[in-house]
């Protein structure tokens, strides 16, 4: 989680930090903590193999990357992209075609090209393919109404999937590509690391109150496969961190501001002389490339790609992560990544834990209950789809701005600091924001120097974000949106800071 410096830091003042969070932020923090505890419990209790545990952590990272990519398109610029799975798949296939042993194009190629291990080249191939596709999809659709982009992108994603499925001589068709090496496998030195790292054996322990309740924990060995998954997790951590930092910088830059203006009022941006088409294209390509990066990582994590990875449902998993987390909010996107894994693994776990047939005997006239139960359990994978659908509906109904709408993220940290000093409250829903004396002093000190410049910046923000929300970009009359409220809040405070300084 990222905080601007204005808040109490989590390490030096945990209580103040907790108090400064909004209700939603607390809920999210609690959810993420609970997820982590659950995962760790699964690991410790032996329900989750250590290798699979690391694999899941890698998947969380992958979904976070995907959500970042969609956030650039939908969250920043208001582009409805329903072809997330296509860009993700292109990234995965790009690197897989180059590295997989069963690849019809390059199978059995030397794993070191010149000085570079092939996966490095794979990144560029995957990202390049995605960038080209993004331009190809963007040219006809980005000039059109937003809902056309939705339909056209879903259609073109389907075209990509059909190509992967049917061009057997290129992609192996529905059999998919096997034998993809791990990202670091073919690297000199680093590739041998998993073998050379020691094998650790955790002795099985019995914990609990003897006689009352005991359970066995630990009792697993971590070895080579665990270490290589750990390296994958490290890799995705690097990917996520770099992307996050780049996006944060980009989001706060003038470029990001213009994009937000386009999202809220494209005509206004155009009237101000901005080339909205070109800016939308830039964000479309940027987002698609990030999705492809997630795809590249997935190929080397899963070691197998197939056209099934391009199914539209994968697109909508990412959509959930973004709209649930809060469109335009990268913190929200991180939260969304956890939620997706919670849905996927939760339904898998519950489905596996449910008994085959009802544990109680039903009277015969209630036989349909029994048979319904059996069919539902048989098709329990469908509950995943159901959960996705219900979450979409509920979020759009009750919290269209998402759980963690962007607030502070939109403002330069130093400007937020200034606003804190002079205006007091920063986030609208904050109940109690009484900073301790030591914070105050530090902030005042930091804030003074670049106040004027940043206040101007922040005022710009108000102009660009205070308009109608992109969710109703086509409807001039529908400007009342909850996102609006959030944006306006952030803006208001910034203005307050600016005014006071003048």
């Amino acid at each position: 989680m990222t905080e601007t410096d204005a808040r109490p830091s989590v390490t030096s003042d945990p209580r103040g930090y907790w108090a400064a969070l909004t209700g939603a932020e607390r809920g999210v923090a609690a959810f993420v903590a609970a997820m982590l505890v659950l995962l760790l419990w699964g690991l410790v209790s032996g329900g989750l193999g250590p290798t699979y545990f690391m694999y899941l952590v890698g998947l969380v990272g992958m979904y976070i990357l995907l959500s970042f990519g969609l956030n650039v398109q939908w969250g920043y610029a208001g582009l409805i992209n329903f072809s997330v799975a296509a860009f993700f798949g292109l990234g995965a296939y790009g690197t897989a075609l180059l590295t997989a042993t069963s690849s019809p194009l390059t199978g059995g190629m030397d794993p070191i090209l010149g000085f570079f291990p092939v996966p490095i080249v794979g990144i560029f191939v995957g990202l390049g393919l995605a960038a080209v596709l993004a331009v190809v999809i963007g040219i006809p659709t980005l000039r059109l109404r937003a809902d056309y982009l939705a339909i056209a992108s879903l259609g073109l994603a389907e075209v990509v999937r059909l190509v992967m499925l049917n061009q057997r001589d290129w992609t192996n068709g529905s059999a998919g590509l096997r034998g993809i090496p791990g990202f670091f496998d073919v690297w000199p030195v680093i590739g041998d690391l998993p073998q050379t790292l020691p094998e650790l054996r955790f002795q099985e322990l019995e914990v609990g109150l003897p006689g009352v309740w005991t359970t066995r924990i630990l009792g697993f060995t971590i070895g080579e496969s665990f270490w290589s998954q750990t390296m994958n997790v490290l890799l995705v951590t690097v990917f996520v961190a770099v992307t996050y930092l780049v996006l944060r910088r980009v989001h706060q830059s003038p470029w990001g501001r213009v994009l937000r203006t386009i999202r809220s009022d494209e005509d206004l941006a155009e009237a101000l002389g901005k080339d909205t088409y070109s800016l939308k294209m830039q964000s479309f390509v940027l987002g698609s490339v990030i999705m492809a990066l997630a795809g590249v990582f997935y190929a080397h994590l899963n070691l197998f790609v197939s056209p099934g990875d391009l199914n539209p449902i994968n697109t909508f998993y990412v959509w959930i992560a973004v709209i649930l987390g809060g469109s335009g909010s990268n913190r929200g996107a991180m939260f969304g990544g956890f939620v997706i894994i919670a849905i996927q693994e939760g339904t898998r776990f519950i489905g596996g834990a449910l008994p085959e047939s009802l544990p109680i005997d039903m009277p015969s006239f209630l036989g349909f209950v029994e048979s319904t139960y059996t069919t539902v359990v048989d098709n329990f994978a469908s509950t995943r789809l159901l959960a996705v659908g219900i979450i979409i509906i509920l979020v759009m109904r009750y919290r269209p701005e998402g759980v963690l709408p962007p607030q502070r993220e939109l403002i330069w940290p130093s400007a937020a600091r200034t606003a804190d000093v002079s205006g007091g409250v920063v986030t609208g829903s904050q109940v109690d924001d009484s900073p301790g004396p030591d914070d105050e002093g530090q902030r005042a000190h930091d804030g003074v120097e670049d106040t004027v410049h940043d206040a101007d910046d922040a005022t710009d923000d108000v102009e660009s974000t205070g308009g109608t929300d992109a969710a109703d970009g086509n409807q001039p009359d529908g400007g009342t949106d909850a996102t609006d409220g959030a944006d306006a809040n952030a803006g208001d405070d910034a203005t307050r800071g600016g005014d006071d300084d003048e």
């Binding site: 259609g155 389907e158 075209v159 319904t372 159901l386 996705v388 659908g389 219900i390 269209p400």
Partner: protein
Amino acid sequence: MSVLEFVANGLVFSSIIVLASIGLSLVYSIADFANFAHGDTMTVGAYAALVTFGTVGTLGGTVLGLPYGFFVALLAGTLVAALVAVITHKVIYEPVDIGSIGLLITSIGVAFVYRSVIRMGFGADFTEFGIQVLRPIEALLPYGVRVTEHDVAIVVSAVVLVAALHVVLQYTDLGRKMRATADNPDLARVSGIRTNRIEIWTWIIGAGLAGAGGGFLGLFNQLSPRMGFDILLVVFAAVILGGIGSVYGAMLGGVLIGMINQMMPLISNFGQYAPLVPNEWGIPIGIEYANAVAFVIMVVVLLARPNGIMGESAT
């Protein structure tokens, strides 16, 4: 296969697409959003028909090779689809106030809920109505056309439904109000039209036609929980081709897209069917890309004529 046969197959498939695209276009123009749950509404209709057909049985006689019971089932599918759509409208779409894009995203959630509920009840596999497959009509075989009476039934039913819709839209009070609402909801409202009632009627008609189309699609191919979602993009292509908001454009777009979809072999083996060109000519593209071609055509149309071939001049 003769060219005529491709035309005949195209007509059958077009009928289904037309039924679906009219509903989608009506909802698009009056409820004002792209309803991604429309395809799954077709699935709902198809499965409702399946259940009804299993319950009522054949009911004796047959028309065009289809038992009476199937028509009862089709009616039930239509009604269930309409009912489900109206409930969804009342419970989900009406209370939200998030503009057309928000509704679009919501409708995807709705589509997933429909599909997952169907999948939980019926499993993910293909099923069939279990109506005996007929032999092609003898009288048409000399012309190289192999169509069954079922195909004829689909086309005739679709024509009847479309004609009925035309009469409703053009000559009844409801139709005039619907057109007025589609044209300018605010003006319609101040003129005393109860637009929220018109919206409900729109859902009833649009989803009802989709339900019927779903039933026919199940007869034409097979039933599966994904059937509606798979055809949705083809239907969108038809609607966009015709011009969003234009019901008659949707009909035309539906016919065109349906024809193109079934005539794919004509494109790949162009030389064999066209006179005066070598037999090898043709665009080498397999029928598995039929849907892809429809999308590409849609995108090309969007580029050249963003408002479709029969759309209004202004968005």
